[in-house]
Symmetry: C2
Subunit: 272 residues, 2 copies
């Protein structure tokens, strides 16, 4: 084993002066008051902020008036700036001595493309950190007042995408359909029919309840209560598209898995 206690600097670059630094900051699901204090303080000291399409203007307002704000127009599954351009620009700004905040919706560690930005920073000996944000699954559970785990019923939470990379076919998701699991699919709104087919093929009843939450934590929050078989058509009719999460709770076998879950019917759709 190797055992490493705290080390103050994330990347030690001997013989090289590190001038700026990069903070990958989670803006959370949308509501500015769901940001952490650390994220807000980080924004306050930023010289330049590169922010995504889904970041709320009020979140951006935590940055000081002198901070430059650069819109990278990135949304889930569709980049206005290619990732390599973002990587290059944040590195260039840090090399000029700036404190760069890369402000991302949700949590940078979960479907946030943080790995590429960390690799780019490290390749240039630039100090980089992640500041966590509330991820959509957690915020959806809070808005719905429906926990992702329930003792005795669900002891696993799976955060998944239907496709790993844009343009690729849907992943094989059948192994995810296990009793005792809460499944939360991100960026899945274009694959609902395929998702439904796979979970039914894996043994989940076609009328198993599904909840789809969109605009989570925002004033425009909506939640749709539907079933595996009908969710694709229902979302089309209700005009729900990304960003949204699809929540499927599969209770333990002794709780009539495949029939109506003991959890879902009690869901109450509350104010975000």
């Amino acid at each position: 084993m190797s055992f490493l206690e705290n080390s103050a600097s994330i990347v030690a670059a001997p013989q090289q002066q590190i001038r700026g630094r990069i903070s990958l900051v989670g803006a959370g699901p949308g509501a500015p008051d769901l940001m952490t204090l650390r994220a807000i303080r980080c924004l306050e000291t930023a010289d330049i902020v590169f922010y995504d399409r889904l970041v709320d203007p009020e979140a951006l307002a935590f940055a000081g008036p002198a901070a430059r704000r650069i819109f990278v127009g990135k949304e889930v599954g569709a980049n206005s700036w290619p990732q390599v351009r973002i990587d290059a620009e944040i590195v260039a700004a840090a090399l000029q001595g700036q404190h760069v905040v890369r402000l991302k919706s949700g949590d940078p560690s979960i479907f946030g493309r943080a790995a590429e930005e960390i690799a780019a920073a490290r390749a240039h000996g630039i100090e980089v950190e992640i500041v966590s944000g509330i991820t959509a699954a957690s915020a959806a559970a809070a808005s719905l007042c429906q926990p992702l785990t329930q003792r005795g019923a669900t002891d696993r939470v799976v955060l998944a995408t239907a496709t790993c990379q844009a343009g690729k076919e849907i992943s094989d998701l059948r192994d995810l359909a296990r009793p005792g699991t809460t499944l939360v699919f991100y960026m899945a709104m274009r694959q609902l029919a395929a998702l439904s087919q796979q979970l039914v093929a894996a043994g989940v009843n076609h009328d198993h309840p599904v909840t789809i939450a969109t605009n989570i934590s925002r004033p425009t929050f909506r939640a749709l209560s539907t079933t595996l078989a009908t969710m694709a058509a229902d979302c089309t009719e209700a005009r729900i598209s990304n960003p949204a999460v699809v929540i499927v709770q599969l209770g333990k076998e002794e709780m009539q898995w495949g029939l109506e879950s003991p959890i879902v019917p009690s869901w109450v759709f509350a104010q975000a």
Copy 2:
């Protein structure tokens, strides 16, 4: 489908005057500045706070000086107060007209026993809400500067416990060992040997890298880099116990799954 827009009240209890309310608030992983603004504001207006053993005293300090603070001594897998007593006390305080904050480490929605407290509140017609917190997996990823997903390598995050209920045998975890998955086990420190056996039985190499993070986001944060085969002995030697998370990253098959992952060796153990 049923489609419900925002409704202002979470539980409508006709014919009954609702006097208090209950907020289930996530204190996050430990560092007080990893709490959300909403959690802090909720604490500021609390009349009474029921808090867990793992909640930082600085987090509790966000509550006003007049707020009563009740230590329920609860830790993962070992309750000083039985859950039913907590349920009864928070309900009793709310029925007296108080704003009750139930302050939990991490995120109330993830392994937080929130479902029982919500059910107790609803049974008495008491308004209840969840305020999200940063869960340990997310904070560990940030402290380690190692995202939980990496495009092309991991497109699933599984948050799991080794046992669903205290005293029960270890769950069958073999189906979790799938390429493209980041596994994060909570409350697993007493089941490391069994966990290792199961993942090896599922096809993961015995020398597959594992990271164990403890005291996440606190000044006493430590991370141990070990392997599946040796993690139990290594943790004993290093005296790492709960609370901690066990992180196992399984890359896609084309990335030499079962051999050295392309992700883990680059991990850098940074300041919390």
